[in-house]
């Protein structure tokens, strides 16, 4: 049944892909949903990087944003709530040759899957993680999420949510082995694309929090920031993303931030207004777990057999020896 064939191992020609090679059906997200902007940026990235669809896997959990893989014409894994990251880690460990992307929401990543989020940062496996943060549970119809602003009235907090929101950037930056942290907003597509591109090119786990509008449940949440470019702090650096002159005319609140500067990254990450957008932190020298574990090395039948026989030898009682001892007594 499973016979390895070589017909796909070597391509003797260059394959060029178009946008439509990555498009699968019409997304069933609401009109105006920020997920559409993320999808468009990602499809563009795949095309520009000429990723082979069959070598690319989008992994998600459960929630509006986790429908993402269904709209990509690549391999996709739409799993269970909160567990996108460990699934993606398993894929990467088994197949380091695959391009792995993760799409997860604020409920999926920061609530039910929070343990995996912390540990995924620490494993630092080579994949791009997009946190679609709309600060609300959408698919289950408007319950407060861990990133909802305090006082938000929702179906489970009719008198306003009680707790301060959790800050995904500061948390991620506090975890050992963090190697790439960025923040984007769905309403500045150019920067969103640039950040995702940088994330894709980073070797290690790239964590991109994307502030994403939910027109259905929280249509006005990000309105002040969408309306006023001064409420966006664009991080600009030769080692980070470089803001285009046209964009700089609109978004004048710029800061030159070196992504290798962890202390400043942590300071920036704790600022809620203006919203920082750009690459907060990048360290290409953090080792990847799959490399530390030597994943993907070919193993031959003889290699396995030799290893197994050596183990059997450790535990074997040979008949001659047993007979000799038996007679000796």
């Amino acid at each position: 049944m499973n016979i390895a064939t070589t017909d796909c191992l070597l391509r003797m020609y260059d394959e060029q892909h178009e946008l439509e090679d990555y498009e699968s059906g019409v997304p069933r997200w609401c009109t105006g949903c920020g997920d559409n902007a993320i999808l468009a940026a990602v499809q563009r990235l795949c095309r520009d990087e000429n990723l082979r669809p069959e070598k690319t896997v989008f992994v998600s959990g459960i929630g509006c944003s986790s429908r993402f893989p269904h709209y990509m014409k690549t391999y996709g894994f739409h799993g269970i709530h909160g567990r996108a990251l460990p699934v993606a880690e398993g894929i990467k460990m088994a197949r380091p040759d695959l391009n792995v992307f993760v799409n997860t929401g604020d409920g999926d990543c920061c609530s039910i899957g929070a343990a995996h989020w912390i540990h995924a940062i620490r494993y630092n496996m080579n994949m791009t993680v997009m946190l679609h943060d709309n600060q609300i549970y959408g698919l289950t119809k408007m319950q407060a999420s861990p990133t909802s602003p305090r006082g938000l009235k929702s179906n489970t907090t009719p008198r306003g949510s009680y707790l301060e929101p959790l800050q995904p950037l500061t948390i991620t930056l506090g975890v050992q082995n963090v190697s790439f942290v960025a923040q984007a907003v769905d309403w500045i597509p150019e920067v969103l694309y640039d950040i995702l591109s940088a994330a894709f090119h980073h070797k290690g786990l790239s964590f991109v929090r994307i502030l994403q509008r939910c027109p259905e449940w929280l249509p006005k949440l990000y309105e002040p920031w969408v309306q006023d470019p001064q409420k966006i702090l664009l991080l600009n650096h030769e080692q980070g993303i470089q803001v285009s002159p046209n964009l700089a005319k609109v978004y004048r609140n710029l800061e030159s931030h070196d992504p290798s500067n962890m202390n400043r990254a942590r300071e920036i990450s704790s600022v809620l207004d203006p919203i920082p957008v750009g690459i907060l932190y990048r360290n290409p020298d953090v080792p990847c777990y799959e490399d530390l574990r030597h994943a993907g090395q070919p193993r031959s039948r003889n290699f396995i057999k030799a290893g197994l026989e050596a183990e059997f030898d450790k535990f074997t009682v040979w008949p001659q020896e047993a007979e000799r001892r038996g007679q000796a007594v």
């Binding site: 049944m1 499973n2 016979i3 390895a4 017909d7 796909c8 699968s24 069959e54 070598k55 896997v57 992994v59 459960i62 893989p69 269904h70 014409k73 690549t74 391999y75 996709g76 894994f77 739409h78 799993g79 269970i80 567990r83 460990p86 699934v87 993606a88 880690e89 398993g90 894929i91 990467k92 460990m93 088994a94 197949r95 040759d97 695959l98 343990a115 995996h116 912390i118 540990h119 574990r293 994943a295 090395q297 193993r299 039948r301 290699f303 396995i304 290893g307 197994l308 183990e311 059997f312 535990f315 074997t316 009682v317 040979w318 008949p319 047993a322 007979e323 001892r325 038996g326 007594v329």
Partner: protein, 637 residues
């Protein structure tokens, strides 16, 4: 010194022991059960393991079981703190831990008390007891020792006080380390075992630590041997029947790990949990040598989903756990069922529910394994019934998982996990190994869930295969893996996943009946109880009872022919390590009696009046208990 050595001569064995001119004659036995117990950390386990290994090398049948306290460092000299090993040593092949213990070496009287109270010692058990407590500076220790000693003697145990500590200190400064080797030396003498083989065993055990550790341990071994020879007036010999082929001596968990190596699987994802973890300890040590990875995940759910991800990517993966971890994995197992991702899940069962009895044996997870995860989630369940089975069941499980794109649950238990039994050294077969990741192009038009009308089987699409791009989903889906909003499609996919189980069932052979094909009573069992059941059945058949047994390895699906076998017997009963209500309780009647797991399955599937008997004491079920049950069933009143 005089007071110390032979406080009490061997009484009723006097006629057996014939000391002849300085040489003791050895009494020939067909088998004996020996225990070595101490406080945790005093090395009784190592002593017992070494004894078992030496005997196995001599060609004896052995079955060793660890005696493990629940805590890592229980208080010294505590009744619940007994740590050690129990070795059943026989001339023939030994298939289970047997009944009560014949001889105990105890490093203090408190751990011994724990064993006495457990009821695991024969009423006239020989006890070799460390005597140093009699001279302890703490008068309460002395009083406790004397009182316990006198009680045991009065109760009929044959107690020998042995100055182990004092004797060891003649050779090493710290007698607490190494006393176990002195005990091993004594036992080698008492059971006529080859001393040179014991020395070799020490070299093997401490090989990594070098000569400076080996030499003093060998010295203590020799000292124990000589001391027993000079001071104890009895000796046994359990003839070895010899072995004709190479044998492997490992415990069930090591066998599981070897099975993983042999299956060609490359990734094992796990989270530490007792009693499963020792399999991962061993695997962690050796897996990388053959290119494998043991991934210790952040939790049980992550371990299972990591395994699912790796399997999905083309390399069938295993996750190992025990009871509570198995519960935590349920939603993820459902995902693998729904996505038709091959996955091997090993559950080394322990006592439950909740945290239960982490170190104790129980067979409480059969129904959870079969019916766990919400909705209709058909999966394969197999249960190894011996140490050898632990090895081969993993290879079988991997193969079934990949052939049928299903979850295969392997149910071992704490009894098998820590028991050692020799079995024929497996001969490597290429058929064991997982094939390379299939990266061939998907034929045009083939759907990711092209369920076969008859069998439900579909080719598995693996990332990297051109032409196969699709999104696997845990949502109900159609043949294209598109989310199904149509109720009709949901039913089609449930049918397909169910048919796969039937397709596998068609390949299974009817298991053989042990004993006669017809008779008065059929005893059914599954998993680790096989050896004990068959021993009881064999003995009773020799006495003329018309009793047979049937042991099931495949629990889901059940092979054909079981009903026909059951119908050839007047009565049918299961023997299981999971609870069933007993009709002796006043409140229990047919309307409310809860049957044991297998009994319930057999009753509901075959409409046969299957009775059950169970024991959930955390210990492997003894052949003598099963014997009693069979006799009661055959001869009521």
């Amino acid at each position: 010194m005089n007071k110390m050595t032979l406080v009490k001569p061997l009484r009723d064995a006097a006629q057996q022991v014939r000391p002849a001119a300085g040489e003791k004659a050895a009494v020939t036995l067909s088998e004996h059960i020996i225990e070595i117990i101490s406080d945790s950390g005093e090395g009784a386990q190592r002593c017992g393991q070494s004894l078992g290994a030496i005997a196995a090398k001599m060609g004896n049948g052995i079955w060793t079981v660890e005696i493990i306290p629940a805590e890592i460092r229980p208080p010294a000299r505590s009744v619940a703190g007994a740590s050690g090993n129990r070795i059943r040593l026989g001339t023939r092949r030994v298939t289970n831990g047997g009944d009560e213990t014949d001889l105990v070496v105890a490093f203090n009287e408190q751990v011994l008390l724990g064993r006495v109270r457990s009821g695991d010692l024969k009423s006239d058990c020989i006890i070799l007891l460390e005597s140093m407590w009699r001279e302890n500076s703490d008068p309460t220790v002395v009083a406790s020792y004397v009182e316990t000693h006198d009680q045991l003697v009065a109760a009929g145990y044959r107690v020998y006080e042995i100055p182990m500590e004092r004797e060891c200190r003649k050779h090493v400064a710290d007698a607490r380390r190494g006393k176990n080797m002195f005990a091993l030396g004594m036992l080698c003498n008492l059971y006529s075992l080859d001393l040179q083989l014991a020395r070799d065993q020490i070299a093997l055990t401490f090989g990594k630590k070098g000569a400076s550790v080996i030499a003093p341990n060998v010295k203590l071994l020799d000292a124990g041997y000589e001391w027993a020879d000079a001071n104890l007036d009895f000796k046994f010999r359990i003839p070895a029947s010899g072995v004709t082929e190479p044998q492997i001596v490992v415990n069930g968990n090591t066998a599981l790990a070897l099975g993983i190596l042999a299956s060609g699987m490359e990734v094992c994802a796990m989270y530490p949990i007792t009693p499963a973890t020792s399999a991962s300890h061993y695997l962690s040590d050796v897996f990388e040598k053959v290119g494998g990875v043991v991934h210790q995940a952040e939790d049980e759910i992550a371990a299972c989903t990591f395994a699912i991800g790796a399997s999905y990517a083309g390399k069938c993966t295993v996750t190992i756990t025990s009871g509570p971890g198995y519960s935590l994995k349920q939603e993820a197992i459902g995902l693998a069922v729904m996505g038709e991702i091959p996955l091997v899940v090993v559950n080394v069962q322990r006592g439950g529910p909740s945290t239960g009895q982490p170190t104790k044996a129980e067979q409480g997870d059969l129904l959870t394994a079969m019916f766990g995860s919400h909705g209709d989630a058909p999966k394969v369940v197999i249960a190894p019934s011996s140490i050898e089975d632990c090895f081969y069941s993993i290879i079988t499980a991997r193969k079934i998982a990949e052939t049928f794109n299903m979850v295969v649950v392997v149910l071992s238990d704490a009894g098998l996990a820590t028991s050692q039994q020799p079995f024929p050294r497996p001969r490597f077969s290429d058929a064991w190994l997982a094939p390379p990741v299939n990266q061939s192009t998907v034929p045009t038009g083939l759907e990711p869930y092209a369920w076969d009308e008859a069998t439900g089987l579909a080719r598995r699409f693996v990332p990297g295969q051109p032409g196969g791009v699709h999104t696997l989903t845990g949502l109900a889906h159609d043949r294209l893996s598109h989310v199904a909003y149509d109720a009709e499609i949901n039913e089609q996919s449930i049918r397909a996943r169910s048919l796969k189980l039937a397709a596998l069932q068609k390949t299974l052979k009817t298991p053989p009946v042990f004993g006669g094909e017809t008779g008065d009573l059929l005893v059914l069992g599954w998993g680790s109880t096989k050896g004990a059941i068959e021993e009881a059945v064999e003995d009773l058949r020799a006495e003329g009872c018309k009793v047979s047994s049937l042991h099931l390895t495949f629990l889901q699906p059940l092979p054909s022919g079981i009903k026909e076998i059951m119908q050839r017997f007047k009565q049918v009963i299961t023997v299981e390590g999971n609870w069933c209500d007993t009709p002796q309780d006043n409140i229990i009647d047919e309307a409310n009696r809860r049957y044991s797991a297998l009994a319930m399955l057999l009753r509901s599937r075959y409409l046969v009046d299957v009775d059950c008997w169970s024991e959930v004491k955390g210990q492997p079920i003894k052949p003598s208990s099963i014997r009693r049950v069979i006799l009661e069933k055959l001869r009521p009143n």
